[in-house]
Symmetry: C2
Subunit: 234 residues, 2 copies
Amino acid sequence: MGSLDRSLIAGLSVFEGLAATDLDRIVGQARSLRIAKDQPVFEQEQEAHSFFLLLDGHVRVVKSTPDGHEVTVRYISPGELMGIAHALGRTTYPANAIAAVDCVALAWPSHLWPTLAANFPSFSANTYKTVGSRLQDAHTRVIEMSTEQVDQRVAHALLKLVKQTGKKTEEGILIDFPISRQDIAEMTGTTLHTVSRLLSAWEDQGLVKSGRQKVTVVEPHRLLLIAEGRAEKS
Amino acid sequence: MGSLDRSLIAGLSVFEGLAATDLDRIVGQARSLRIAKDQPVFEQEQEAHSFFLLLDGHVRVVKSTPDGHEVTVRYISPGELMGIAHALGRTTYPANAIAAVDCVALAWPSHLWPTLAANFPSFSANTYKTVGSRLQDAHTRVIEMSTEQVDQRVAHALLKLVKQTGKKTEEGILIDFPISRQDIAEMTGTTLHTVSRLLSAWEDQGLVKSGRQKVTVVEPHRLLLIAEGRAEKS
């Protein structure tokens, strides 16, 4: 890890509250790796040999169901941990993680988790804070699916991606990784057909622009009105 | 806590791997309390002053949305922790917890969590294992809502409650706490009307019996066929 600039890593919230020497000791036990676009970082039901910190890129976490459905559970952004099965008492990965673009990550052997957690309480507390917000996210999604119309859910999903990964461009805020209409359908529990219909309607209204694996939100405030069910129906 | 029989508590999975003296030290810092049916154990957005271990009864965890919807997130059974906000880096409770029947629980002040977690790694590991399975449950529910028909979701919800709380009776397996059709609707993201229609149809087919706040599963295997989408449509 000698080539890695510590200042890049020290600012990440997962390392908040750690002294520089502690940070060096934690990062010194990791190896860095590159994952090419569309390659797996880890696979569902495989032995959870490592846990990871994403440094660059975006990773899509997808759960496969026994009957062959795929559901996008979440996107991982730089600075986030992933594959922390051992920290949650699991020995296998609960889902597939696939590089949405070329990625760089740190990987620690999972068997180090108990020692790292015991020696560096801040690291452990920060990790469980991440877990807590993922649990909240999952419950929020259950609630959205219980109480919201499909247009609200798709609008919420786009706004969340914009918040997580948005990049300002001349046209608006670009979701900064390749995302297909099928991906959006899998995130919102609807069909490709419905997502296509909504995106076309919103494009006609000047709210978004979309192309192949590309979505730009042009009018986030108007999209928020739709997400909150406050837009006038057109 | 002198009046509490340690043998009752030692068998709980959250205390697995703890020596009797450690168990006494942990439980010695708790107070026991009774919560009457329909009373709150804790409330959404309130300061998370305590975390709890349910010893007897059933607790319904409900999230309120800003626009006034209520969604039942889960039911807590005896032996489960609840309100462990601090262990997940939160200072407030993320939901309401309401006693579904008269309950008995242990309560620890939340500020003790870091010390307990540091001194008793098994207790902490067991707690996070619970968190891990709740995260899995939440993702499973997202997947069910994305990929399953409403009859499958309601069948899954009933089978899960039977597994969690089922009590054998002459008629079949009773869900052992008061549960209304509205509760089931809130658990499965559907309407009271749909739940009533399904339960009536299943009662006609001899799969379930239901009364006011009472559901008995008569034929779990046939309900499982419905849950898995393998039942012939009637």
